[in-house]
């Protein structure tokens, strides 16, 4: 079963072809890595998947909760389709507490109206109570419970990354997109992150796609790797296949030029 199918996806920014005619199917339940040199179009690809950009041509088909076929997609709709993401440069709600950050993740699942908010009807108390309980449980799983009243901006870097992932998981996604989760982490933190991602996949039954430059993380954790270069998908396969793929080596190291 596939979770996501990308058909002939192209994105141009003016004259720059950021994504060129990509076709790929992502299988459910796998951890997929996207690698490639800087400017290869990895984050653009994420932004297309999450509706921040709309594709120039081509379409994306999501098969998570239900099948959704879309060319244009509003960013706030993706959570309804079962997708949540984190950002390359952490985007927490800095002036809000850790708990409030998590609570935003529940936004999509809360249904009581403005009327019952203002009148404080029982539906308000019921929904808020169960949401708070769930949020605290989630914080507990991420070892952030004792920091729940801390402002997000005051957390150490590693905790901020964790909080961003926890916030994404609060939306109960089926597909989690992680944009460079290990950026700025030292080897020990990266190893912890590896365990965390593995644990998340088991505990939440997710498909995970991650962009990452840290090869030790990608090669260890991913079952399948997509390699981007100049907006093209140049290779797709298991870590072993990718390590020995000529085009990948060329993309990273360049090719030898014969001297004349």
């Amino acid at each position: 079963m596939w979770a996501l199918s990308v058909n002939n996806l192209t994105k141009n920014f003016g004259g720059i072809k950021a994504i060129r005619d990509i076709n790929v199917n992502i299988e459910k339940g796998k951890i997929i890595g996207i690698i490639g040199p800087n400017g290869a179009g990895k984050t653009t690809f994420f932004n297309l998947l999450t509706g921040i950009y709309s594709p120039t041509t081509g379409e994306i088909v999501y098969n998570l909760d239900s099948q959704v076929r879309t060319k244009d997609l509003k960013p706030h709709k993706i959570v309804h389709y079962g997708i949540a993401r984190t950002f390359q440069n952490i985007r927490l709600f800095k002036e809000m507490t850790v708990l409030d950050n998590i609570l935003i993740g529940f936004h999509n699942r809360l249904k009581y109206g403005v009327g019952s908010t203002l009148l404080r009807l029982p539906s308000y108390y019921k929904a808020e109570k169960s949401t708070h309980e769930e949020a605290l449980e989630l914080l507990d799983k991420f070892d952030l419970l004792n920091k729940k009243d801390e402002l997000a901006k005051n957390l150490p870097y590693g905790d901020q990354r964790k909080l961003e992932i926890a916030r994404a998981l609060a939306a109960k996604p089926k597909l989690l997109l992680l944009d460079e989760p290990a950026a700025g982490m030292n080897p020990i933190e990266t190893k912890e992150l590896r365990d965390l991602i593995n644990w998340i996949r088991e505990a939440f039954e997710l498909t995970i796609i991650l962009i990452e430059h840290d090869m030790s993380l990608v090669m260890n954790i991913c079952e399948e790797i997509l390699v981007f270069d100049y907006g093209n998908l140049v290779a797709q396969g298991s870590p072993e296949e990718i390590q020995n793929n000529e085009r990948v080596i060329k993309a990273y190291l360049g090719e030898e030029v014969e001297e004349c």
Binding site: R85, F87, R91, L92, F93, L118, E128, K129
Partner: protein, 318 residues
């Protein structure tokens, strides 16, 4: 749980006590009409500042059109009470509703703009409302609207101020309010968590405009007379100053700001030639030494109801 209930009862008793105390003082003449006038002005300013704070402080949308919503409310109320001779309560509610509709109509096209662009657009909206009012003879044009019955008194001001604070605080302590704050913090992240940013910006605008319209109604039915120029650009700036002075993103900051700035300008009335100079210096000093406003983002502990639900839940043991 029990102490929470007790605290709410105490709060209620305090407010009722305050109301009765001031009412008695008005009746026996300790508070004369001059002081009553200032109480009304403070009340109206609190409503304006708290509602603008929802738009600018919490949702992060920089609006310079708040006086225009007040103007729409004031004129609506004037028409309903003076021309149509309807009861004041109807005028109050309809003023809020018409201002709110104006907020939605202006919000939908302009709220896709950000920061200074939005400020300019709302400034333009304020001018449009003013010029329309000047050129409409039915509502008195540039001469102004006269002979509005005086209905506003301490009771109406008190009820309106409490209702404004209570309802806006309730809104902020729900997932709707959290969504608004998330938009202020990071629009892209909020959107990717499922927050429909356009909807919530317009909603914040509509609610803010409702209470501004309410304030306009109270204003019109206290001062007998309104004219388009009372609700110009400078009035919007005045409201914004209160919000910034008290602390952007703090409801109690806005209340505190409205009270303290009104009292400051009251004391400065004795020296009219230096009044604006000293007023400006006070603002200047506050902004330099407390750039987040007098109260910053802090809320008074005794009024803090934010964590109510959470406290009931208690902490989960590991």
């Amino acid at each position: 749980m029990k102490s929470k209930v007790n605290k709410n009862i105490l709060k209620g008793i305090f407010l009722i006590g305050l109301y009765i105390l001031v009412q008695i003082m008005i009746n026996i003449g300790v508070i004369d009409s001059y002081y009553e006038l200032n109480i009304v002005i403070i009340g109206i300013n609190i409503i304006l500042a708290v509602s603008l704070n929802l738009i600018t402080g919490f949702t992060g949308q920089f609006s310079l059109g708040h006086a225009a919503f007040m103007s729409i409310g004031a004129y609506t109320s004037a028409i309903i009470t003076a021309k149509l001779n309807q009861p004041f309560i109807l005028a109050l509610l309809l003023s809020g509703i018409t201002a709110s509709i104006a907020g939605i109509l202006i919000g939908i096209p302009t709220l896709r703009l950000k920061g200074d662009y939005l400020a300019i657009a709302t400034l333009g909206f304020g001018e449009i409302v003013r010029v329309l009012a000047i050129n409409n003879d039915y509502i008195g044009g540039a001469i102004g609207f006269n002979d509005i019955p005086k209905y506003t008194n301490w009771t109406w001001i008190f009820i309106s101020v409490i209702a404004t604070i209570l309802l806006i605080n309730r809104f902020l302590n729900s997932y709707h309010g959290r969504a608004c704050i998330a938009i202020r913090e990071d629009e892209i992240a909020a959107e990717s968590m499922g927050v429909n940013t356009t909807y919530y910006k317009v909603l914040a605008f509509a609610i803010g405009a409702f209470f501004a319209g309410l304030a306009g109604s109270l204003y019109a039915n206290y001062f007998y007379f309104i004219k388009p120029d009372s609700f110009g650009f400078m009035k919007s700036i005045d409201i914004l100053v209160i919000v910034v002075f008290g602390g952007i993103g703090s409801t109690y900051g806005s209340i505190f700001g409205a009270i303290s700035l009104s009292i400051i300008s009251l004391f400065l009335q004795g020296i009219p030639e230096l009044r604006m100079v000293i007023y400006s210096i006070i603002l200047f000093v506050i902004m330099v030494y407390r750039s987040k406003g007098l109260l910053g983002k802090k809320e008074f502990k005794i009024f803090k109801s934010r964590k109510k639900v959470e406290l009931n839940v208690g902490t989960i043991s590991k």
